[in-house]
Symmetry: C3
Subunit: 353 residues, 3 copies
Amino acid sequence: MSADTGRLLSAGEIAALTGGRLVGAAEVTVARVHSLQHAQPGDLSFLASARYLPYFQQTRATVVLVKPEFAAAPGPATRVVVPNPQGALLSLIPVLHPEPPWTPGIHPTAQVGTGTRWEDPVALGAHVVLGCDVRLGRNVRIGAGSVIGDGVAIGDDTQLFPHVVCYAGTVVGRRVILHAGVRLGSDGFGYVRDERGEGHLKIPHVGRCIIEDDVEIGANTTVDRGSVDDTVVGAGTKIDNLVQVGHNVRIGARCLLMAQVGIGGSTVVGDDVILAGQVGLIDHLVIGKGARVAAKSGPYGDVEPGVVVSGIPARAHRETLRAQAALYRLAKIVDQLEGLVTPSQTASDGDES
Amino acid sequence: MSADTGRLLSAGEIAALTGGRLVGAAEVTVARVHSLQHAQPGDLSFLASARYLPYFQQTRATVVLVKPEFAAAPGPATRVVVPNPQGALLSLIPVLHPEPPWTPGIHPTAQVGTGTRWEDPVALGAHVVLGCDVRLGRNVRIGAGSVIGDGVAIGDDTQLFPHVVCYAGTVVGRRVILHAGVRLGSDGFGYVRDERGEGHLKIPHVGRCIIEDDVEIGANTTVDRGSVDDTVVGAGTKIDNLVQVGHNVRIGARCLLMAQVGIGGSTVVGDDVILAGQVGLIDHLVIGKGARVAAKSGPYGDVEPGVVVSGIPARAHRETLRAQAALYRLAKIVDQLEGLVTPSQTASDGDES
Amino acid sequence: MSADTGRLLSAGEIAALTGGRLVGAAEVTVARVHSLQHAQPGDLSFLASARYLPYFQQTRATVVLVKPEFAAAPGPATRVVVPNPQGALLSLIPVLHPEPPWTPGIHPTAQVGTGTRWEDPVALGAHVVLGCDVRLGRNVRIGAGSVIGDGVAIGDDTQLFPHVVCYAGTVVGRRVILHAGVRLGSDGFGYVRDERGEGHLKIPHVGRCIIEDDVEIGANTTVDRGSVDDTVVGAGTKIDNLVQVGHNVRIGARCLLMAQVGIGGSTVVGDDVILAGQVGLIDHLVIGKGARVAAKSGPYGDVEPGVVVSGIPARAHRETLRAQAALYRLAKIVDQLEGLVTPSQTASDGDES
């Protein structure tokens, strides 16, 4: 845990803040949040799923947030019953672990280009570089070393952690969070083969990279600018670390892109789509609203709205599981099948395992 | 679109610049390039494949570059017929959207080590760090915050965007483009198991990282130095974002490595190879000249020149597609097959779906 | 090869330093290490596996380290016979290619927050930013542009290459190596769905990111802080480039995580586990001590200690190979099978290849 300046919370206060039902002593207090497994006396914890019941029974936590179905499960004496224990934490963590306040100001080592303007208060960290004609909204915080190109616009209440780079012309909305090493607006991967057959000619990129409001983007993630259109990440979408978003991609609102996802050029991702870790989308696909793509999967074609797909190439998740199961059952009988069906034709193919 | 200082182009001028055949009014003018779907009056657009014919019919673009087979397709009145519409853009974008000129000079916050030399003009951005005995060619531009280690050599006309790091000894050719966050010359992943069985002993790396002429490398991509040999990226090769190139790898000329590709140590990639997104090559492979590896695939063995492979482990693409199709058809019949062939042996294995 | 200040070694000295048996002339000398294929006269090389015997026979290297089974193989006259040629290099490279000494000191452009302390000697590079209350051990070296947040602790003899970012509260052990662009302690990917069904609410992260002793982390790798628990990378573990470690992950000691591996939240990885390139572990898994996961694989469930798994979803490696082989044999007979088993039912499904 990081050093905290929060205050203690009693079980009774926790019930009041979360609208939960208190079971046990109202006056016991907690100083911090911790997992069931690693909690110590004086800690608040939470039980979100039956998977963690063994830890619940043995936890040393003083107070535990639990779902109604675990209200009477064996475990610590003091608990607060709420419909969504993790959601309930959102009203408690800021009291127990308040974020340190930020100090407005321009670090003396920051470099600011001509024509650049902002609305106070803002914070520019050490060695920040702002180009010319940059626009920053109110409460924008830019972490140390970040480099913001000419003509970039950043909306109110947006936070850049250290070492973010925004290429010239990038547009970032309000309440956006960009983690360390995010690169926005780099040229996409676009070339035309030289007509003399020698080498690749670079297509100059003139589209923008647009990040809408309430987006969070994880460390070292890259979002290319568009080639002729813009690349757009829709409002409320959350992107994990080391994700790649190619040129001209349009991502809808409230999507979740987990770590190391890659999206090829010009692909369109609808609202509320979930792409699990290491998913790859080739270029020029359309992923329908609310679709989900399982971890490591790769659709080779469009995905219908609302469906769950998996595999490479991805199919309906249920179909993929069925095929996988069949495959492993198959290995046990394929020798006999070969003999049964075409004994002479396949015998010469050998066994490549 | 970013702010432009370009000039208008008439349809007649477009035909002249591209060597195309004009259909429609020669005097109408355009101010920028945009996609068929998002173009407005006053825009130039292009139709590269039949897939976008529906957008072509409804586009508001004033002039459209089209292939000969679409010369008479229903759509906007003014069009310029060229064999390769995307290629034709290469002669038009620089007029409509000229790149802003760069200003030579050494930013006062840049740090330059002893023995470092360059040929004017060059541009060193804010907070750039050059080590000792660095050599920069003419017209080298180094973006803000980049760190160039001792003894690095960078050729004429090469551009580094902000936050590039070149470890000591790295060699970068002419007309190279390195995007934000590129890391060149980091130690490879090489260890020897401690003979007492405890832990891994680091192998000191003494090889170089060499980037030949006309290479472009995408944001946050990493290329390790060699352990005893050099790591080499061949002339004209283009590398996308978040790619990993391991130690001692040799990549030939004019290859295309798409986003999130990973190449294991000592693997050799021939000229003109295409590795699609998220491809992984294990160490010590040889990929033949002109081979292509489909997205997300992973060969476990060498790949012959000129072939197209896919799957994990990768096989001939046609064979992979055939096997995948068979697999999904199989799921529908494997229950019967089990009964047909060995009713008692497989019944106890259950269904793992 | 980078410029070296090392000294010559004779074959006799090499035998003495490695405890090997000399075959050939004791007085010939070498100046550097190189591969069999690219070595020149005056170079030392090594033959680690039979795969490289063709290069051994033709190498121009003056001295070659060989395993006992190759002591008499046709090849260069002077060789030193050792059980582990690569391991033997560890005692020779530092003599032939000594690392340049580092110069203690605080670069005048470095920024240091209040309450920050260290034990001399340390080196802070140009434009380094240390927050408040940072603690650095003896011999800590921090590369140019690195940003170290408030309250970070870094142990003795640890080296940060340029452009590392440690978020506030991160703990780094002794003898750790962090390569360029490493991000430690960024917020994990944790959200709660807004109860009104609109958007995702961010879970504040209060756990730490802890890197134990003797860890090495590759370029542009990201390790998130814990949400309520800590994220821990165990002692002696080595992590390659572009790896993602999610929040609350616990990685044991002496693991090897190769390039582009991704580990989902709260997954536990035992000691001595090997995760090959591009492996993905979903969240909340347990990977047993000494297990190995093959390149590009993705277990969907826990992995037992000591086993080798591969595939997506991953199974025992032997079983995966068998199933793959069966699959490709299958494609040749599935048409007949369909006719054999259920001629009317499957005929209408078509062939999706």
